[in-house]
């Protein structure tokens, strides 16, 4: 088992390495002078030269890459010219806000999605199933930004229950979180349903019933415990989905997280920030996948050996 864990850790590091390499090469191969790209247009010739030396653009590629990795580990990836501060600081400032929004959305999606999926599976083919899956299909078909605006239209403008944008109080969180969680809630309930259906068809469920266990115990004890494995998978997937969705949601609600940040960076051609953000996202995703795989070891005894 320890071998497995070490193997996974190694794979994660390799993945991170590959992503860093890809980003590194992308900047170097894009048209134009990399140093020029990494500085605002107002930079002077001397500044550009200084950066060229610092990045080692006159050195052979492997050396450059080595310096690049060193910078990466030190979290020194340049200065955003839009915000005029070190990139790491900007991301560090914006990310917690996205994490808050994403976290609340994830919890909401799980709290509603899992029970919905289980009920749909247990009552397969009956009305509850159709209704639940009807909601799920709708949730996966609604464009997030449109949903956001519609919610704003109804609950902010018409009813004045919630503010239209910004942060501050919990009321500011309600509409964005609801918007963001729609898709993942639908996704989770669908996957829980199909996972549960698979489980309920397994022989050990029949054995559990044959022992005289009540249906509730069969589902909640035997079924649920095996459901944890696909649920963990779904949660891992959801992180990526939520990150993507937050870009849109933050745009709609002017929520000052990394979504808004990257959009601004893109329109300002703020390459240092774009580059750093890409690496950051890759890092988050790789970490999440690693955690999911390690959780599997805990959840599924068959892997342990």
């Amino acid at each position: 088992m320890t071998l497995y864990i070490l193997k996974r850790l190694g794979q994660a590091l390799v993945a991170m390495f590959v992503v860093a390499l890809a980003v590194f090469l992308l900047i170097r191969w894009a048209p134009g002078d990399p140093a020029r790209l990494m500085l605002p247009e107002t930079a002077s010739k001397e500044e550009v030269e200084a950066l060229r030396v610092r990045l080692g653009l006159d050195r052979p590629l492997p050396v450059q890459f080595g310096w690049f990795l060193k910078d990466l580990v030190n979290l020194d990836l340049g200065t955003s010219f839009f915000y005029n501060r070190p990139v790491a600081e900007i991301i560090g400032l914006h990310f917690p806000r996205t994490a808050l929004l994403g976290g609340v959305s994830l919890v909401l999606s799980l709290v509603i999605g899992i029970p919905l999926g289980i009920i749909a599976a247990v009552k397969e083919g009956r009305l509850a199933d159709f209704v639940a899956m009807g909601f799920a299909v709708i949730g996966q078909s609604v464009p997030i930004f449109w949903l956001g605006f519609m919610l704003v239209l109804v609950f902010s403008i018409k009813f004045h229950w919630f503010p239209t944008s910004g942060t501050g109080t919990w009321q500011h969180l309600v509409l964005p979180a609801t918007t963001l969680s729609a898709f993942t809630m639908a996704l989770i309930s669908r996957l829980v349903r199909s996972g549960m259906l698979d489980i309920l068809g397994e022989d050990y469920i029949r054995t559990a019933r044959a022992k005289g266990l009540s249906e509730a115990l069969v589902i909640l004890r035997h079924g649920f415990r095996n459901l944890m494995i696909p649920v963990v998978t779904v949660v891992g997937m959801s992180v990526g989905v939520l990150l993507a969705g937050s870009v849109v949601t933050e745009a709609v609600f002017a929520w000052p997280g990394v979504g808004l940040m990257i959009m601004t960076a893109v329109s300002a051609r703020d390459y240092p920030l774009i580059q750093a953000f890409t690496l950051f996202v890759a890092f988050v995703v790789i970490c999440v996948n690693l955690i999911v795989d390690l959780l599997y070891v805990y959840l599924d005894p068959r892997i342990r050996l």
């Binding site: 996966q140 078909s141 993507a244 849109v248 959009m263 953000f277 890409t278 790789i286």
Partner: protein, 289 residues
Amino acid sequence: MLDNRKVISERKKKIQRILRNPRIVWGGLVIVVLLFGAVFAPYLSSKDPLKQNLLSRLMAPQGFSGPHLLGTDSLGRDIFSRILYGARISLTVGFLTVIISGVIGVMLGLFAGYYKGKTDSILSRAADIQLSIPVIIMAIVLLAMVGPSVFNIIMVMAISRWMLYFRLVRSLVFSLMASPMIDAARVIGVSRRRLFVKHLLANLWTPIIVVTTQQMAQIILLEATLSFLGVGIPPSVPSWGMMVSQGRNYIETAWWVITFPGLAIFVATLAINFVGDGLRDFLDPRRRF
């Protein structure tokens, strides 16, 4: 004892069953309507979707009583005709993307499944890594670098989607290759090309179709989102996502500018998802939805 007549009537029965599935029927109906609207747009609406008329900006929807069925936007353009023309863009982009990513993904999946070994490991790792990166982020970054245009958006989306086809085809090919049927074919000496086409692909096309419908829906959503964010289809071309983005400042005063384009996206995606679900129901009846 199977005779041809029995096989043919089995197929007929299957098709009948497909057509009886309510989701496929309703979803299919909506799609047909959309296609109709997209193709016959110039006949259905006399208004030029690009024509700006600042005198009639932000007019409320007039239904059938006035010239502007769904109202006008901030530049006086008729919303209804913009939606119709927007359908052309969205459906075309979606279709082309699915085809391109499908072809790439299926081919790579076939190679990985057939040749296994190194080819497979490299391709799989690449797919895994790419699969983890949230599509939107990648799309935004790439599009930021190459600039928005219809061609670019199709390529970017195709590149971000091939992995799903790849994974599916790869695992199916693995299990097919292990089957005695393929061994038998190879023993007879079937050429590689024939093996690919007749034996492998023939068994793959049903799941590929199901995945394609799912992908189509997601791609329409993705394109709309990217256009909304401004990195998708350029503003000169009418697209639903862009329409929503352009209307956001008028949400309080002219709700229709945002609502209708978004509704179009929703309905289109929903219809395609319905059809996809219905098809999957039917092809794998044990596991619905």
